[in-house]
């Protein structure tokens, strides 16, 4: 099987090289059949990489530990669901996922644009195949997913327990789809420059893909934040970590592009800016992949070797150089067709929004790469922390949210006073009312959060007014009931109203962020059973400890598993069950917490800490069962107004518990793993009998749920905007038949 995988990669590399040659030759000499062949080689690449990916997936599901990546990131005890997801947890597997998704998305865009702008698409084909070839070459020469060891190890290391979280199945494919989709507008933008066809046509062809890139990247970022909040025992959703920033940067420039392209379509302006944004977005996406995959910031983070650094730096340098050359050499063609008429116009607001987004991106870029910059300039490694990021990003975010309320209602070209009064009275009143209500309710600290609430209210006012007017107009014209009119309104103009819904979602999201980060109560302390503490308005008491032991995730129902459960039942209080999150922990220690407010019971929380098998014989026949990395399983009571979040870190390092493990290691042989787990159960029993003080982390933060709800609204709005409208399809069919008729007339 590994040989098949390796053969696929070599073949894929050959297809890429051929396809690049054929496309470029075809467009240079005007021989269409060659560029057609180049396009087909993208389809072939997609087919080959699908086979390669399937080979690796099968190897994971069949526990084929001869594959190095399988042995490193999977094991027999890893639950099947997570075996399937483990494919992309390794460096090699994630490169394969990247290349595979790139080939699929490229095939889709080239299929949909077949027969249009042939010269641009031919160049785009070559560029996309160039990216594909780059990643495949990495897999052939540097990080080989199909490398094998003989003889095969009998057991693997297992998937890192921190990654055993349901969204891990979906987060990387989403993020990578976003990254790969970002390269599509880049390829078409470069193609348009190379072919010297810089009107809005190429933008129209790839607009939907730019939107899709933005959509997938956004979903990926949101899922990452969700994972961080509910899996890492930290309680935050964003920490300005280099890897988070890497995915946010192309999303910001992509957002800027989605706005400014409208100006090019409508007014023929901002051509240089648009093409630069597209090139920057694609380059930032590649840099994001590079940052995640190369460990280039290991000077600070210092985690692991950078084997992929040099090829990536070469690729990025080439991309930047080519972008600058193309834009500069074609600057005459990129002249604007119109001038900005007034600073009070939709064009100007869009421009301001673009500047804010690019400024945000610059701040984040500077902060993320600061360790490298500082090293280069001062020779010292240094880095900036979250407070530095917050100082710049918070005011910029405020302006951004405000602009998202102004943009949709201000007039094109030049806003008049009458226009302003007509459109801005309601939003301003709504924002002021919000301010008055907040102040009256006693919310006077945290001016930045209050400002964000008012900006959010302004957006709700302005977009709500737009929807209201649209519905009213339809009702007046067609006499429809309000819900029907609303649906019809959105369906008639998906892009516009989808965009408005996105703006609402962004405002909701930022209100959630502002509230949860500013009005949070957190507490970290040690508690013994029976003790309680106050967090904000809530009293949380540690009722009793819990313990559960899983012999072998897949054998819980087998005769051996039943026999073991009979033995384990004698240990009081210890349950024999998979850990509550079903992640394959061998031991899970937790707590039952009672949450109450003003004497009234609110919720019962059961946070736990999972201990995993390290499969490392040096930790002893018993010790290895819990020698892996412990992982917190957070318990939270999510609500519309607030989340109560809890995590526990039990203490298993007491002398008594250590003695049990040491005794087990000395007396129990490796060959009978069933007995080893009994020792773990005995230890859990001892823990239950005399529970030592455990460390707890509690957070009560308001409106966190609205971050996820806002994200869903954004996603929903984006889907509405992205979906091909039936009228558009009809128009295209009509246009095509008309073109054919015209063609016939000319011939006749």
């Amino acid at each position: 099987m590994a040989a098949l995988g390796r053969a696929c990669l070599l073949l894929a590399l050959a297809v890429c090289v051929y396809g690049i040659g054929a496309s470029v030759y075809g467009v240079r000499t005007g021989r269409l059949e060659f560029s057609e062949s180049g396009r087909r080689s993208v389809y072939a690449l997609a087919g080959i990489l699908t086979v390669a990916f399937a080979v690796l997936e099968v190897a994971f599901l069949h526990n084929d530990f001869a594959f190095n990546t399988v042995a490193d990131t999977s094991s027999r005890t890893t639950p099947t669901f997570y075996k399937a997801a483990a494919v992309w947890s390794s460096q090699e597997g994630s490169l394969l996922l990247w290349a595979w998704l790139l080939s699929l998305w490229s095939s889709l865009v080239l299929f949909l644009t077949r027969g249009r702008l042939r010269d641009v698409t031919a160049y785009a084909t070559a560029i996309l195949l160039g990216f594909g070839g780059f990643f495949i070459a990495l897999m052939v020469f540097y990080a080989q997913p199909f490398a094998t060891t003989s003889p095969a190890p009998s057991e693997g290391v297992g998937l890192d327990p921190l990654l055993r979280f349901p969204t891990m199945m979906i987060h990387p494919p989403m993020l990578y789809s976003g990254y790969t989709l970002c390269t599509i507008p880049l390829a078409f933008g470069m193609g348009a420059l190379l072919a010297r066809r810089v009107d809005a046509e190429w933008i129209r062809l790839t607009r939907r893909f730019a939107f899709a890139a933005w959509f997938f990247l956004g979903i990926g970022i949101l899922l990452g934040a969700r994972w961080s909040y509910s899996e890492l025992g930290w309680g935050g959703y964003w920490g300005w970590d280099a890897v988070e920033n890497a995915s946010l940067m192309p999303w910001l420039t992509g957002t800027a592009f989605l706005h400014s392209l409208m100006i090019q379509e409508k007014r023929g302006m901002l051509k240089v800016w648009n093409v630069s944004l597209v090139l920057a977005t694609g380059t930032l996406a590649i840099m994001g992949t590079f940052l995640v995959r190369s460990g280039v910031l290991n000077s600070i983070h210092a985690f692991g070797g950078a084997t992929l650094g040099v090829p990536f730096v070469v690729l990025i340098a080439a991309l930047i150089a080519a972008s600058i050359y193309l834009v500069v050499s074609r600057r005459e063609m990129l002249r604007s067709e119109h001038r900005l008429d007034s600073l009070l116009s939709r064009e100007a607001v869009f421009l301001a929004n673009n500047l804010v987004l690019v400024a945000l991106c610059f701040v984040i870029f500077w902060g993320t790469y600061f360790p490298l910059i500082s090293q280069a300039l001062t020779g010292r490694e240094a880095s900036v922390g979250p407070p530095w990021f917050d100082r710049y990003t918070v005011p910029l975010a405020l302006v951004l949210v405000l602009l998202s309320g102004i943009g949709p209602v201000i007039a094109w070209r030049r806003a008049t006073l009458a226009n302003a009064r007509r459109n801005f009275l309601v939003p301003i009143v709504v924002a002021l009312l919000t301010l008055i209500v907040l102040l009256a309710a006693g919310v006077t600290q945290k001016p930045l959060a209050i400002a964000m609430f008012c900006c959010g209210a302004f957006v709700f006012g302005s977009i709500g007014q737009e929807f209201f007017r649209g519905v009213r107009a339809r009702r007046a014209m067609a006499g429809e009931t309000p819900p029907v009119a609303l649906v019809a309104l959105v369906r008639r103009n998906r892009r516009r109203y989808g965009g408005y819904i996105v703006h609402i979602g962004i405002a909701v999201l930022f209100v959630g962020v502002a509230a949860s980060s500013s009005f949070q109560h957190a507490s970290e302390l040690g508690l013994s059973p029976g003790q309680s503490t106050r967090v904000g308005a809530y009293t949380i008491s540690y009722v009793r400890p819990t313990a559960s032991v899983t012999p072998d995730y897949d054998s819980a129902g087998t005769p051996a598993g039943r026999e073991l459960s009979a033995i384990l039942r004698s240990e009081r209080g210890v349950t024999l069950a998979p850990d509550s999150a079903r992640t394959g922990a061998s031991l899970s220690l937790g707590a039952v917490l009672d949450v109450s407010k003003g004497g009234r019971h609110v919720a019962t929380l059961r946070p736990s800490e999972g201990y995993y098998d390290s499969n490392d014989p040096t930790q002893g026949s018993v010790g290895h069962f819990i020698g892996g990395q412990p992982v917190s399983h957070v318990a939270l009571n999510a609500g519309v107004t607030r989340d109560v979040w809890s995590a526990i870190a039990p203490n298993i390092e007491t002398p008594r518990l250590k003695r049990i493990i040491a005794l087990g290691n000395r007396t129990l042989p490796f060959i009978r793993p069933g007995e080893g787990i009994v020792a773990i159960a005995a230890m859990a029993g001892a823990y239950m009998q005399d529970p030592p003080q455990a460390q707890f982390h509690f957070i009560v933060s308001p409106l966190v749920m609205w971050i996820w709800i806002g994200g869903l609204i954004v996603g929903g709005g984006a889907l509405i905007a992205i979906w091909p409208a039936p009228s558009a399809i009809r128009r295209r069919v009509v246009a095509r038949s008309r073109a054919r008729a015209a063609h016939g007339l000319v011939r006749a």
Binding site: N68, D72, S89, S90, Q91, F141, Y142, A143, Q144, A147, D160, L162, L163, L232, G233, W234, G235, D241, V243, G295, N298, S299, I300, H301, A302, F303, G304, G305, A306, T307, L308, G309, V310, R339, A359, F362, V363, W366, F370, P371, S374, R380, E381, A382, S383, V384, G385, P387, W388, Y392, E524, L525, G526, Q629, V631, S632, A649, N651, Q695, H697
Partner: protein, 145 residues
């Protein structure tokens, strides 16, 4: 003022504003940054009251929890006997263990190194995995670690 001149003025004003803002950003980044030091560097050059990013590995058998405070020692990644004892409070990430690489913001207070609350970072599992050296061929730029 004619329109062309007006546009030029506007452009110059906008660009100057951008340059001023960018300079402020760059200036604050240098003054707000904490310097990353290895334990042996920290012992040599730490000044009381300044924050440093201490990077290194947690020394085996050095982790002791006493109430709120977590005490551990950090040694150079390259190995060696120099280790800095750190008194830390706040969130301890799951992957924190003896032998793991960590980054923690510390200040020298008297003879002690006190960790800033919630500043402890450990290796992130998926991203910074030790890159495997290719089995056959392939230039490897594995950094000395």
């Amino acid at each position: 003022m004619n329109p062309a001149r007006k546009r030029t003025v506007r452009l110059v004003v906008a660009l100057s504003a951008a340059v001023v803002l960018a300079s402020a950003l760059i200036y604050t980044s240098f003054s707000a940054a904490s310097v990353a030091l290895s334990p042996s560097q920290l012992l040599r050059q730490a000044q009381p009251g300044r924050s440093y990013l201490l990077t290194g590995t947690v020394v085996a058998h050095s982790v002791v929890r006493s109430g709120e405070e977590l005490n551990f020692s950090v040694a150079d990644r390259a190995g060696g006997a120099t280790a800095v004892p750190v008194a830390y409070t706040g969130t301890v990430p799951d992957p924190f263990r003896e032998g793991r690489e960590v980054i923690v913001t510390v200040q020298k207070q008297g003879g002690r190194y006190v960790g800033e609350r919630n500043s402890l970072i450990t290796k992130c599992p998926s991203k910074y995995k030790e890159a495997p050296v290719p089995a056959s061929g392939g230039a490897s730029q594995k950094q000395p670690s």
